[in-house]
């Protein structure tokens, strides 16, 4: 792990920096698995320093080797690939890297107190090299799938994988027949363990890859679903409205109504929580105001302070407020209507204000039921009050108060 092409800071900005920054194993300019290169990119230092650090640490009881292995397993391979250098040269540097890995591995063994007993060390090194080849092969497979590799590349890969598997099993076998001196009943157990361990080492890369692919695929599917939902919503609402607007270019009032309804719809879709719109007083009032806007082509500005669930009394308040808005819309002309509601611990108050011509309650004929029955009567039946203030030429304000029923 000592030789490398010199650091190339010039190519650094080309790599799109994913945000948030995460550690990848580099797939270009790598020697073995791209761990050192990836770490160097992540830390913003030349790779040679990282490699030297690994080598020094490998001398310290093999810690560098263990660290390298862990990074290899846990850091995902970088998807941002630049073309590798010539193949043959890479294989050469990889052999060199494997050689240094072997030396490091032997140091690790001696540090673990197993000594440099050749009967044990040689098979273990064989197993180690086999595992490294297998893991590296798994990386290559993954990369080739990204690039839609051809069959020939796969063939040499299969050969390498077979070599790795063979090395692992030969090493395991050597341990079994060699110095371990397997005998008796415990011998069978040890043999089984060694075989199982060998199988796990051999199949490990593919398990890991399968797990990663699964989660990547699930993420992709979730993203795709979200995108489809957005597309569907934009299609059903915005595009539809735009078409309607084009058809009504000669009718500014209708265009304004369409645009307002669409804006409201989009806004509520973007900012509001997904909830039953009628469950809370604020959203229910906004929905009622929207209906009035649509039906009468008048803008209603809704301001709600506080919020609470709608119960039976508040349902009555809601209907009365709606009727008051309808009333205002009919007589207010084009000026916007103000709806203000405040939820207090003891009561809910709603004000509906228009800037129309105003009227005298006494002048309203007895048979006109809107205000008298639907607003005032309804509020009183449910224990609330309604107050109408109207000033000629300034407009009308209807004040609705409903005490909250306490549980």
């Amino acid at each position: 792990m000592t030789t490398t092409s010199p650091p190339t800071p010039a190519t650094q900005p080309v790599r799109a920096e994913p945000s948030p920054r995460r550690l990848y194993r580099s797939s270009d300019g790598r020697v073995l698995a791209g761990v050192a290169r990836g770490l160097a990119d992540h830390l913003g230092v030349p790779p040679i320093y990282v490699r030297l650090a690994f080598v020094v640490l490998a001398g310290a009881g093999g810690a560098g080797i263990a660290a390298y292995g862990l990074f290899w397993v846990f850091a995902p391979q970088s998807p941002f690939e630049v073309d590798d250098g010539p193949h043959r040269e890479r294989d050469l540097t990889m052999l060199l890297a494997l050689g240094s890995l072997t030396v490091g591995g032997l140091l690790l063994l001696s540090a673990l107190g197993l000594g440099l007993n050749p009967g044990l060390a040689v098979p273990l090194v064989a197993v180690g090299i086999g595992v490294v080849i297998l893991w590296r092969q798994a990386d290559d497979d993954a990369r080739q799938r990204w690039r839609l590799a051809t069959g020939t590349a796969r063939l040499s890969g299969a050969a390498r994988a077979a070599g790795g598997i063979a090395l692992v099993f030969v090493g395991a076998g050597a341990i079994l027949v060699g110095p371990a001196k397997v005998d008796g009943t415990s011998g069978g157990l040890v043999a089984a363990l060694v075989v199982a361990f060998g199988l796990a080492l051999v199949s490990g890369p593919w398990w890991v890859r399968m797990a990663r692919d699964l989660s990547a695929e699930r993420n992709a599917r979730i993203r795709e679903q979200e995108r489809a939902e957005v597309a569907a919503h934009v299609h059903d609402s915005v595009l539809h409205t735009l078409t309607l607007i084009q058809r009504h270019v000669d009718d500014p009032r209708e265009v304004a109504r369409l645009a307002r309804a669409q804006e409201r719809d989009l806004r509520s879709w973007l900012y509001r929580p997904v909830a039953d719109p009628d469950a809370m007083i604020s959203s229910a009032l906004a929905a009622a105001a929207a209906e009035v806007e649509d039906a009468h082509g008048v803008a209603v500005e809704v301001v709600v302070v506080g919020d609470c669930p709608v119960d039976e009394r508040l349902r009555a308040l809601l209907l009365a407020a709606r009727e008051a808005m309808v009333n205002a819309a009919k007589y207010a002309g084009d000026a916007p209507i103000s709806l203000y509601a405040e939820v207090e611990p003891g009561q809910v108050t709603v004000f509906v204000r228009d800037r129309g011509a105003g009227f005298e309650m006494a002048d309203v004929p007895e048979d006109r039921l809107g205000l008298r029955q639907s607003v005032v009567g309804r509020m009183e039946r449910h224990g609330g009050t309604a107050l109408v203030r109207s000033v000629a030429a300034e407009g009308t304000e209807i004040q609705l108060e409903m005490p909250r029923s306490h549980q």
């Binding site: 806004r267 509001r272 500005e301 301001v303 302070v305 506080g306 203000y340 204000r353």
Partner: protein, 227 residues
């Protein structure tokens, strides 16, 4: 503002036209606003992002900046943070399509002197600009509602002892009327006070909104962000 020598009956046109800079990332919208403002003010500059706005405002030192809340490069808030300490005479009026309470409250807290929605009519907007230029504070019904909502969390009175942290009864009444769609003049008549007093109350509310570091205010805004 209490210290300003503004006339008792606004809006009164000052001797020279009010100089305005428009900051909005949509060119169509800027030209629309320019048309709607018409001769009422003198538009001396436009900008479409944070850096451009900082440059134009520093160069022209206008009376009023009409500021969009959402801008490329950090939003209206970044402009306010860069310029309010350096240019105390430039007044900012937030003009936004955003309904999100935390956006509105954050530009006010960063130093904007008012907030109006983009649905405002041309004459109302011109009036609001002149008011801000004259030192007043412009509260739209929606902003009044947000402020009432934010300060309504004061049910826990024991925890709040600073004057900055709560609204007086009168301020609450004024804000309620504004939220109900009343103009300052109508508020004054309803409460039997002068328009000047209404403005004093509203300025006091703005000051509390900007200076209070009540935890509830932050928490309220954070709660709203999640919806």
């Amino acid at each position: 503002m209490t210290e300003s020598a503004d006339p008792a009956e606004p809006p009164v046109r000052p001797a020279r036209p009010v100089r305005v800079v428009l900051v909005d990332d949509h060119r169509m919208f800027r030209s629309g606003v320019r048309t709607e403002l018409g001769d009422a003010v003198d538009v001396v500059g436009e900008a479409e992002d944070v850096d451009g706005a900082v440059a134009v405002i520093t160069a022209t030192e206008p009376d009023v900046v009409l500021l969009d809340v959402h801008l490329p490069g950090g939003g209206g808030r970044a402009i306010l943070q860069a310029l309010v300490p350096a240019l105390p005479d430039v007044r900012f009026l937030a003009l936004s399509v955003s309904d999100a309470p935390e956006d509105v409250i954050s530009v006010i807290r960063a130093g904007a002197r008012g907030y109006v929605t983009k649905s405002i009519t041309g004459p109302e907007l011109a009036d609001a600009v002149l008011r801000v230029a004259g030192g007043d504070v412009v509260f739209s019904p929606r902003l009044a509602g947000f402020v009432l909502d934010a300060f309504a969390a004061t049910t826990d009175v024991a925890a709040v002892d600073e004057d900055l942290d709560r609204l007086t009864q009168r301020e609450r009444e004024v804000l309620r009327l504004i939220a109900r769609g009343y103009t300052y003049r109508e508020v004054a008549r309803q409460l039997f006070i002068s328009v000047k007093t209404v403005e004093t109350h509203v300025s006091a509310v703005l000051r509390k909104l900007q200076l209070s570091n009540r935890h509830e205010l932050t928490r309220w805004a954070t709660d709203r962000r999640l919806v």
